[in-house]
């Protein structure tokens, strides 16, 4: 089974993208599998909306475990099952909380195991700052690391917000040689292209 990992800094909308993308692919109810730090897997069933209000929060590091959903996508004869994995946000420096540091280590570990990496940037935030500094050091390194040996997609999220267009232009200028997909986890804008790319990569 293909693993597709969603990575990015805190609060760029990784979980929102996961839930919204699952909805876009036709799922109404989710079976979210959460892998806890001791290796056990907890499974919970939620409707998309319930999951959204439970899992998506305005605070940093809402997601501290790897949580995944299975998506069935049509492929050739038959279906390809894709495991879409949501990860904990990555920051530049050393985080004071051991729990979050462990969560980040697990995220890096998951990158090595994934075939497809979806790297999400907050286009609105980058547009707001107006310069390249909205893109953190972690994003550069993440892109460089994740690009090797696997499919890599760069998503400029929050395109529904004002200022996101400038952000998108900045991202495109900064990450040359990488295809950037403008999306909005809220309005599902740009999802068609992302799905096509993911399917091709499976």
């Amino acid at each position: 089974m293909n693993k597709c990992l969603i990575v990015g800094r805190p609060n760029v909308g990784k979980t929102a993208f996961l839930l919204s993308f699952a909805k876009y692919c036709g799922l109404k109810e989710l079976e979210i599998r959460v892998k806890t730090s001791d290796g056990t897997t907890i499974s919970k069933r939620r409707s998309i909306d319930a999951a959204y209000s439970e899992l998506v929060q305005p605070t940093s590091h809402t997601t501290q475990e790897l949580q995944s959903v299975l998506l069935d996508l049509p492929f050739g004869k038959g279906q390809k099952t894709l495991e879409l994995v949501d990860s904990s946000g990555l920051i530049d420096g050393i985080h004071p909380s051991p729990a979050i540091r462990r969560a980040m280590a697990r995220t890096l570990e998951a990158i090595a195991l994934a075939q497809i990496i979806i790297h999400i940037l907050d286009a609105a935030l980058i547009g707001l700052k107006g310069t390249g500094e909205g893109i953190g050091a972690i994003d550069w390194d993440l892109a460089e690391y994740a690009k090797q040996n696997r499919e890599y997609l760069l998503l400029a999220n929050k395109m529904d917000l004002s200022g996101a267009n400038q952000g998108l232009a900045l991202i495109r200028k900064s990450f040359t040689g990488v295809r950037v997909y403008p999306v909005s986890a809220k309005t599902m804008q740009g999802f068609k292209e992302v799905r096509r790319h993911v399917l091709r990569a499976c």
Partner: protein, 323 residues
């Protein structure tokens, strides 16, 4: 950052402990990945190797040159369709339902099983298993029962291959026979589950030809027809050789000669089992048992050599059993 790590595990641990920042961890991981000492095998390469495995298994079979070529053709076709899809070009739908024609023991089931593995590795089928059925498994006892039973078998085969042996017998009983109902259910299932099921109809050459002629809708739905010719004498001998080698036995020279003439006399007598690998297997397995009896009855010392050799007497005794 200057610190170098020998394994990615070490990097994760350092990060979790707070000894290095995430950026440093990523740097270290990248360095480790660029290092050729830790080769990361690509997934697609894996698939390539596996589908070649399935193909190699096929190549090992004796004879069947036409079948092998066709399978290679199918493999190339599937791969090219996939590449075309990736390039955004128009693709043909993959219709891979097949008809296998040939006498018993000519390798139909064996090839079907290999195809299942091959299609699984190519990503055409999700499971690639083979469900072997015959008329009795599909046809029911009362009206409505047949559709139900047939659907059950189809359900079992989803993600793999449904192999219907002696498929012509489904059309045997005429209009009122339930076999017709089974055919209709199968045709419908082929349309409904066209992405998850490959159907193979197998049977004798003539019977299958008649069966397909009598059901005009079938030939268009089964674009691939493979003919399994009878094995000739040389091929049968090669098969016999392979079979004994696999079982770690050897023929004595006279045993080999004896088997040769035996198979030859069968083929000149137009025995329906001539050209049949199953017959060869039966003879060999029986002579292996005969050898065991001979060894136990004799007083000679049983060294490795004696345990391995099949003699002329073993083959003859085996043939007498067969009649």
């Amino acid at each position: 950052m200057a610190k170098s790590f020998s394994s990615s595990r070490e990097i994760y641990q350092e990060l979790a402990k707070g000894n290095i920042s995430t950026v440093e961890a990523l740097h270290a991981l990248r360095k480790l990945q660029l290092n050729p000492m830790t080769p990361a095998a690509g997934d697609s390469r894996d698939n390539q190797v596996k589908s070649d495995d399935a193909l190699e298994e096929l190549t090992k079979l004796i004879g069947l040159e036409k079948v092998k070529n066709l399978v290679k053709e199918i493999q190339a076709y599937v791969k090219v369709q996939e590449l075309r899809r990736q390039a955004g070009l128009k693709t043909e739908p993959l219709v891979l339902h097949m008809i296998f024609k040939g006498n018993p023991g000519t390798g139909k089931t064996t090839v079907a099983r290999i195809l299942g593995n091959l299609f699984k590795e190519l990503g055409v089928l999700s499971k690639g298993h083979l469900v072997e059925v015959e008329r009795a498994d599909l046809v029911g006892e009362y009206i409505g029962h047949t559709a139900q039973r047939t659907r059950e078998q189809i359900k079992k085969a989803l993600g793999g291959i449904l192999f219907i042996d002696e498929a012509y017998s489904l059309a045997r009983g005429g209009e009122k026979d339930f076999g017709k109902e089974a055919i209709d259910t199968l045709v419908k299932a082929m349309e409904d589950n066209k992405n998850e099921l490959i159907l193979i109809l197998a049977g004798y050459q003539h019977e299958m030809d008649r069966f397909i002629r009598s059901n005009p809708g079938l030939s268009s739905r089964f674009p691939i027809v493979l003919e399994f010719p009878d094995y000739n004498l040389d091929e049968l001998m090669q098969i016999a050789q392979l079979m004994v080698e696999e079982r770690e036995y050897v023929f004595s020279p006279s045993a080999k000669e004896c088997l040769y003439y035996l198979l030859k006399s069968l083929s000149t007598n137009y025995d329906e089992n001539s050209g049949n690998a199953r017959l060869v297997r039966n003879i060999i397995e029986r002579s292996i048992r005969r050898q065991a009896v001979r060894l136990m009855a004799g007083k000679a010392k049983l060294d490795t050599e004696a345990l391995k050799v099949l003699t002329e007497a073993d083959i003859k005794a085996a043939m007498e059993d067969t009649g």
